[in-house]
Symmetry: C2
Subunit: 244 residues, 2 copies
């Protein structure tokens, strides 16, 4: 039996805002961003969660303290919380937070790359598995992923696969993944290669052009007939700003 | 017993492209646009389907002929077809097309304003009901909508409500609708007040600003905590162009 009131490393709590990506794109939600990742993707847009640059901002909070801060920031203006990272699947006892949110009638979404299984995956309302393609420099463990997908097939909630695409090699990786797990809703997402660009008028046309490129690639590929192709919508509105 | 091989008034068959709106936003799909509408919304972005301006382009096609044209345009590059209008719910015998597509392993999405019930609604994989808000100049019949929502609650497939928002009065309409049907997934969508603007560099910043306005409105409204807020994504990529 685990001791209750575990503390979790938290970097950001903010919202309400809209989810800009993936299976619940557009959803009104709060965000909790946990610190720490077992990967180090070349193009990580949240590198501050693991590269030491925001080390002094990490706070260790209990589930109750996280809920209090969500309420302080969001008042009565939310019924959905998204947990992101870093990789929140590093946190074995995160069920304490998930259960607490559920007890308040709040739905929970979570994103992880799928490198680690946690039993509380079964309780996440909207679970996004985002295996990293070759351009990231990482190499997913397919055995672990097989196991995760198999377990989730018995979940009562929704899950999906999402792959960020920078180039044709990434697209090949996504094709193989979609073929391997044909029953799992599959999302392709444009990569952002300018995560430090502060000028929206330079960033946004580039992101729209990348989205158009990705659409073109998917349209001409008969192995990708069932997929959904999406941008990171929040970057169109807020550029690379954090905490919105 | 209806005679088979009914003919349907068709204005456009194109794709594959991505669905730019609503519950399956991003989905790779073909489009079939039917002619005719029982409404005449002030801001209709498909007015050519009912205002006579494209009268000479309307063709009367059987379900088989529509499938043939879908295959001619999309080859083996599609497994999803979206039927839009106009109002395709005017077409009593559209089940012939829906059933034919299903028999080919193709999923079917459809959008209608919810002014008319058809039994084949129960067979649509992704059904969007889009009741028109006050700014349209139309007045939805709530009794008919109640009946449609009640029947769809027994469907094995997915359905959702989507409301286009131009102003605060529209938002109030959407709030009331969401409160009336709290269990139905609810989407808010930015209105496009420049459906004839051909310059993307004028159109897109305006659409993004409207999206940001809508997000702000929803974020501060506790009656809209569960909704999803989306733009018309295709306008960011293709502006007001038809047939993409
Ligand atoms: S898995 Fe995610 S958080 Fe971790 S390094 Fe990769 S992109 Fe960044
Ligand atoms: S219901 Fe749709 S197609 Fe008909 S007039 Fe209104 S916006 Fe146009």
């Amino acid at each position: 039996m685990e001791k209750a009131n575990k503390k979790f490393p938290v970097l950001e709590i903010f919202g309400p805002t809209v989810q800009g990506e993936g299976m619940v794109i557009g959803q009104k939600t709060m965000f909790v961003r946990t610190a720490g990742c077992d990967y180090s993707c070349s193009w990580c847009d949240s590198a501050f969660t693991w590269d030491g640059s925001a080390k002094d901002e990490i706070r260790r909070l209990t589930a109750e303290e996280i809920l209090d801060e969500l309420k302080a920031a969001g008042g009565n203006l939310f019924e959905h919380v998204t947990i992101s990272g870093g990789n929140p699947a590093l946190l074995k006892n995160l069920s304490e937070l998930v259960d607490l949110l559920h007890s308040e009638g709040i739905k929970v979404a979570l994103e992880t790359q799928g490198s680690i299984w946690q039993d509380w995956f079964m309780d996440i309302d909207d679970l996004t598995l985002s295996p990293k393609p070759p351009s990231s420099g990482m190499k997913p463990n397919m055995g672990i992923l097989d196991d995760i997908i198999e377990k989730l097939s018995k979940s009562q909630y929704d899950h999906s696969l999402k792959v960020v695409i920078f180039d044709k090699e990434d697209l090949k990786f996504a094709e193989d993944l979609h073929t391997r797990y044909p029953k799992v809703p599959f999302y392709l997402q444009t990569g952002n290669d300018q995560v430090h660009e502060e000028k929206d008028e330079r960033l946004i046309p580039n992101l729209i052009a990348r989205y158009e490129w990705l659409i073109d690639q998917v349209m001409e590929n008969s192995r990708l007939n069932q997929v959904r192709v999406l941008p990171q919508l929040h970057t169109y509105v807020w550029g690379n700003k954090r905490g919105v």
